[in-house]
């Protein structure tokens, strides 16, 4: 009995330390952001609870940086990326899971092969193609958004995930619907999609997180600040406020609030273990 309690104690201790380490970089940012001008943020030993407590850094940064605009841009880009991924992945997955047709094997291998092509190695031609299609912000707001969204509209992982989900649905369901005169498209829309809703949710959430945090591509294609997404805007803080760590910290903290709300409210999808199919390389 004693041993069991001791074990429980060590498990809690280990996990508390891990959780603390996990939060520490953010807590230190918050602490720095709350320190006023009368307090030396470089002092030794570092002080965690601000002595000259102030919200001024947050207010000033909020007034200087259009966070709402960056937030809106990120939301539009991530939102449409998710919608397109859900539609295209589940459409493509249906015949791969359920139908027999010529070239199935080849098409499936083609989809598979894109997993081995890292975006970072082909981004230059992708950029040239996007330029040629006039999908950059110098052609307007809508083309700017499309340039951010379309290269990530389809992902082989999404197709696999949906195919896997379709395979688990009993074939009798579709046959019954077919007898009732349901078209193939309606079988997909009215039977398969509702039945795979949990998988669609997982795909949506992980695509959203990925798109929300994407930095490399937006930093390549964006030239206008009006289309900056949050990561690009946050990186920009470093240049704008050069060594003013109070402001950089305040801006970084503001920028993570939306995704933390999103994560905490949907936490069961992240930590239930249901995401094992969503493993990405």
């Amino acid at each position: 009995m004693m041993k069991k309690h001791l074990n429980g104690f060590f498990i809690h201790l280990f996990l508390i330390i891990m959780s603390f380490l996990s939060l520490f970089p953010f807590m230190w940012l918050i602490s720095t952001a709350l320190k006023g001008m009368d307090e030396n943020i470089f002092q030794y030993p570092p002080v965690f609870i601000p002595r000259d407590f102030t919200l001024k850094n947050f207010i000033n940064v909020w007034h200087q940086i259009p966070f709402l605009l960056y937030f809106l841009n990120s939301f539009i880009v991530a939102g449409f990326t998710v919608i397109l991924n859900l539609i295209f992945s589940s459409l493509a997955a249906y015949p791969l899971a359920r139908m027999e047709f010529k070239g199935k094997r080849i098409l499936f291998s083609l989809v598979l092969s894109t997993i081995m092509i890292p975006f970072q190695a082909i981004m230059l031609p992708v950029y040239l193609i996007v330029l040629k299609l006039h999908l950059v912000d110098s052609y307007g707001i809508a083309p700017g958004y499309l340039g951010l969204i379309l290269p990530f509209a389809v992902n082989a992982f999404g197709i696999f995930l949906m195919r896997q989900a379709f395979l688990t649905i009993p074939k009798e369901m579709e046959e019954a619907a077919f007898i009732d005169g349901c078209s193939v498209f309606n079988i997909w829309r009215k039977i398969l999609l509702p039945m795979t809703a949990p998988t669609l949710a997982v795909l949506a959430i992980f695509t959203f997180i990925g798109s929300w945090g994407e930095f490399l591509w937006p930093s390549i294609v964006l030239t206008k600040k009006t289309l900056y997404t949050l990561p690009v805007g946050v990186n920009d803080l470093q240049g704008l406020f050069s060594a003013n760590w109070r402001y950089i910290a305040a801006g970084s903290v503001i920028s993570v609030i939306p995704i933390i709300i999103f994560f905490v409210s949907l936490q069961k999808y992240f930590v239930s273990g249901s995401n094992e199919g969503a493993v990405k390389g």
Binding site: I87, L96, L110, P125, Y127, F178, I209
Partner: protein, 303 residues
């Protein structure tokens, strides 16, 4: 009998119906996007790498293997290759082992386990840009990390400005952000380890540590191998941490493959060298992907 016949007719009809053009219509949108944003750029990368754009960007000249000769005789590129694999070696062992330990601790029936899971997973969902900024602040000359080391009697070092330490600092960010992610992979695999094996070990009087060494680890070997390959592949693609924290410096000591490609392509507008380096990166990642797919994920991807 009637019903059987009816089902048969419907079955035939259905198959005829399917056989025609409908499958292709379902696949078409995805295939168009994959073609435009994966296959065409893939071949274009290879083609670009054989042309010289340096004289006139609009009139490239065929250059044979000159671009490859150029990068493989440049010291900077070798340094880049070296840095990429150094980063991989710093990151992969840690990310393959430590998250497993965390997962074993998390995989217990104790109170408040969900809160721990959420907190440890949190860095995974936060943008890498913010995480990198937070660490840049921790690693500052008069920052938190130097303070902690000073408690142990070490004098402060330039974590991001000293060539000896810069890569370690960048790797710390990648490790920090990856722990929760790989922990969840291990956790979903741990659920599949048969409970009676642990009970048998208990009967034999095994302690917690040897139980995990002799039961958990052998059972999870395929998953550990999977984590090794996927964390290797993502280590080879590292970019944002470096861009935010060091911009490849000091003295190229954190310049990795993707950073080199980015710099050549989008800062120096040297399409030729960027493409040749991209092809090298493609080949390296291809090797890792082939290992991954043939050994670990072949079941998942079977038709």
């Amino acid at each position: 009998m009637h019903l059987l016949l009816l089902t048969y007719i419907i079955y035939i009809n259905m198959n005829n119906f399917y056989k025609k053009y409908i499958p292709y219509l379902f696949l078409l949108p995805a295939m168009i996007f994959l073609a435009v944003f994966f296959f065409i750029p893939f071949f274009q990368t290879i083609i670009l790498s054989f042309f010289d754009y340096s004289a006139d960007i609009y009139n490239p000249v065929f250059a044979g293997f000159n671009n490859y000769k150029h990068i493989f005789t440049s010291e900077e590129f070798y340094q880049t290759l070296f840095n990429t694999f150094l980063f991989l070696i710093l990151v992969v062992p840690f990310l393959s082992i430590f998250p497993l330990i965390v997962a074993v601790f998390i995989n217990q029936k104790i109170k408040g386990i969900n809160i721990y899971k959420v907190l440890i997973y949190l860095p995974v969902v936060v943008s890498i840009v913010v995480v990198a900024i937070a660490f840049k602040w921790l690693f500052a000359q008069q920052g938190m990390v130097n303070f902690i080391f000073s408690l142990a009697g070490y004098s402060p070092v330039g974590w991001l400005t000293d060539t000896k330490f810069a890569m370690i600092s960048v790797a710390a960010v990648t490790i920090y952000k990856g722990i929760g992610y790989y922990m969840m992979i291990y956790l979903s695999a741990l659920i599949g380890v048969p409970k009676d094996l642990y009970e048998a070990a208990d009967c034999d009087g095994a302690n917690a540590l040897s139980k995990h060494i002799y039961v958990t680890v052998p059972h999870l070997m395929p998953i550990i191998a999977l984590v090794v390959t996927i964390s290797s592949i993502s280590a080879l693609k590292v970019f944002t941490e470096i861009y935010v924290m060091t911009k490849g410096g000091p003295l190229n000591s954190t310049k990795t493959m993707v950073y080199y490609i980015y710099e050549r392509a989008f800062e120096n507008l040297d399409l030729s060298l960027a493409s040749a380096a991209s092809v090298v990166l493609l080949l390296i990642i291809l090797i890792f992907s082939v290992i991954n797919i043939t050994f670990f994920e072949n079941k998942r991807y079977k038709l």
